[in-house]
Symmetry: none
Subunit: 403 residues, 2 copies
């Protein structure tokens, strides 16, 4: 992983601008031998020009063969080895929607579910109820009071919400209550270790009251909790690299992980690549580093829709001039992991990586941005945690090591 | 880094000869997109033939993105992770000119400087006085006597000298006295920790007497000291690899680091590649391993002179037959780091690497020696600390691990 001590020692401030453009789940594989991945099939004149002028490579998100979740994959992009720095899903979700999770608080991610008359789960996502339906239910939950602790409950999206418990002697070592199956009841909150027994009791009492509050609902008459976790107190990105850092992302999870490492999450309207790039334009002078996150490459991959994934990449390519007109000193284009449409899920395959830095780059022999050109790229195959030191170097923000 | 324990266990002696030819700062980048680096532009028929018959790759000196100084970069070439093994500049400089630095001694690098009438530095390098001017001044300094310690002062080159203090209870944890600025006086020697207070006092007393000795000089009437350090007691190269090892280098620094790891520094006249290779010829039977260091690739890169850098590489290529006529079993040609003329400084870019070993090499598809061919080379991209195990293997000097 990136050696934070060394980077702190060598960092050097200047006026350069670094952009990390992440297309979530960018990497893919063809459906048929000899076919093309979504990235290869997409018409991307701007990305191809950057590939020609820059250097390619491919990135291993966590370890060879390991398929990452979104949280660990993004930590790795920021230089944190996810095997060293673990961040719970509850904290990611809660901080992603702007909730405070103090170091003594416990956060969890909640899903509404549908229970049948016997109390067994008939739908783990409550028929995927809309946000409009869910928000009043979250308000009910937020009104629940318990002795000894206070709880903050907020809606995330559709059937999902986040809950943060605050009080004395709390401990997040609690197993998920989601049984990951239908036809059985939700599990109770069970402590992994005895020092978490009290916290589990608080949550079970809250779950009971929540069940009463939801008992009249048809679809969302139950809930499950998972990802119990506390603030992992990560070393701060801004301080390790000495970069005023902005996160431009639509989805809460990515804002959450950015906030945990100390980036400023920039609010904006809309969710198109163009709108995200326009946000970078409006914030250009306020920051040194821009993390820009595009979600739909991943979701179309998970839907198995390779055409749609190619279309999302083309949309990003069309919007790119807005970003390029800012003349960033260093631009990296990559993904947090691969999401091949053929597999309809995240995968372990290395992720195409493009480095463009007109002043400092060593070109390679490649002139298109795709999986196969990146395999032959000048940067070789390298771990995601090496990305940030590389970008810092190309921005001339690292001093020489030793005489 | 290289696993010294494993190498000691597996090493196997035979009559093979290994040559590591280092062109300092070899790697580069083109000035213009689509242009050529110095190495690519240079006409190198011999190196190209070796590239065709051998295997290429590219080497990461320290860590991705980290620009190395010469000391750490050479330690890495020899298999020592520079983040684990730190060697102070004072020790490097002093040992480089053949001074003994015992484990209880403290060495520092000295620069003559010019002080104005108020005692402020007006030129940090004393107008870059010549060696002829500096040598008598160094003799004056070498004559200074202090109670409780003895000092040895020797000239290095132009305005630079080295000083070694010997005595009881010395400690090198002392900050540089060079303020890295003009218009201010030199700093006094200040201890980082209390156990170095005594040593700092000794040095301050010496600096005072030195000032008196130089007071009549016009240009070199002051001095600064830096890189206070002691012998780092490195594991010995000769013993780790079981190689009788020779250093053939013109500049003191490279001789210094070679001596610290236990190589024999071979004296010779001249400073041309041909003269260095002739030295290898004359010493061929006395050693198993030859580290040959070419400096001018780096200095021309630092001057921003890409034509001159290409010319230096061509000179090395022309002289190569002298070396090749010795029929080495294994020849590696690479650099300690990149020094792109465009950047006029050391850089973090990986370094082109050529491995030629007629008996054992697996050829790749490349037939010229350059940055882009090395990006596509059969050895891929790998850390500099892996070079020595590779050379040992190709010399059939490592036994099988396990049954």
């Amino acid at each position: 992983m990136a050696d934070f001590e060394l980077l702190r020692e060598l960092q050097h401030k200047n006026t350069s601008k670094i952009v990390m453009l992440i297309m979530d789940g960018l990497g893919g594989i063809p459906f048929e031998p000899g076919g093309q991945s979504a990235l290869e099939a997409a018409k991307t004149p701007n990305l191809d020009r950057l590939a020609e002028e820059g250097t390619l490579g491919q990135v291993v998100p966590i370890r060879p063969g390991i398929t990452p979740g979104s949280g660990p994959a993004h930590l790795a992009l920021f230089g944190y080895d996810p095997l060293t720095y673990e961040v719970g899903r509850g904290v990611l979700e809660a901080t992603g929607i702007g909730m405070e999770v103090g170091i003594e608080d416990v956060a969890a991610r909640g899903n509404f579910c549908t229970l049948d008359s016997s109390g067994n789960i008939s739908d783990r996502r409550a028929g995927r109820i809309s946000s409009n339906e869910a928000i009043p239910l979250v308000q009910k939950l937020d009104g629940i009071e318990l002795p000894g602790v206070s709880l903050d409950v907020r809606h995330v999206r559709e059937y999902r919400f986040a809950v943060v418990m605050r009080g004395a002697d709390l401990n997040p070592e609690i197993a998920d209550t989601d049984p990951q199956a239908t036809g059985v009841p939700p599990l109770s909150a069970r402590a992994h270790i005895s020092t978490a027994n009290l916290t589990a009791e608080h949550f079970n009492r809250w779950i009971e009251k929540a069940g009463e509050a939801l008992s009249d609902e048809k679809k969302a008459n139950g809930l499950t909790l998972r990802g119990f976790s506390s603030d992992p107190r990560l070393p701060q990105f801004t301080e390790i690299y000495g970069l005023r850092s902005a996160c431009i992302a639509v989805y809460p999870m990515y804002r959450g992980v950015s906030r945990l490492v100390g980036m400023d999450v920039v609010p904006f309207d809309g969710d198109s690549p163009e709108q995200e790039f326009e946000t970078a334009v409006s914030q250009w002078n306020a920051f040194d580093f821009f993390f820009i996150h595009i979600k739909k490459t991943d979701s179309s991959g998970e839907d198995g829709d390779i055409q749609k994934k190619a279309k999302v990449i083309e949309d990003v390519d069309k919007a790119l001039p807005t970003l390029l007109n800012l003349n960033p000193d260093v631009l990296a284009v990559t993904g947090d992991h691969s999401t091949p449409a053929k597999l309809k899920s995240h995968s372990w395959h290395p992720v195409p990586f493009l480095l463009w830095a007109p002043d400092t780059v060593r070109m390679d022999s490649q002139d298109t941005f795709g999986e196969r050109s990146c395999q032959l790229g000048g940067l070789g195959t390298f771990p995601a945690t090496d990305i940030m030191p590389l970008l810092m170097a190309h921005a001339k923000r690292l001093r020489k090591f030793g005489a």
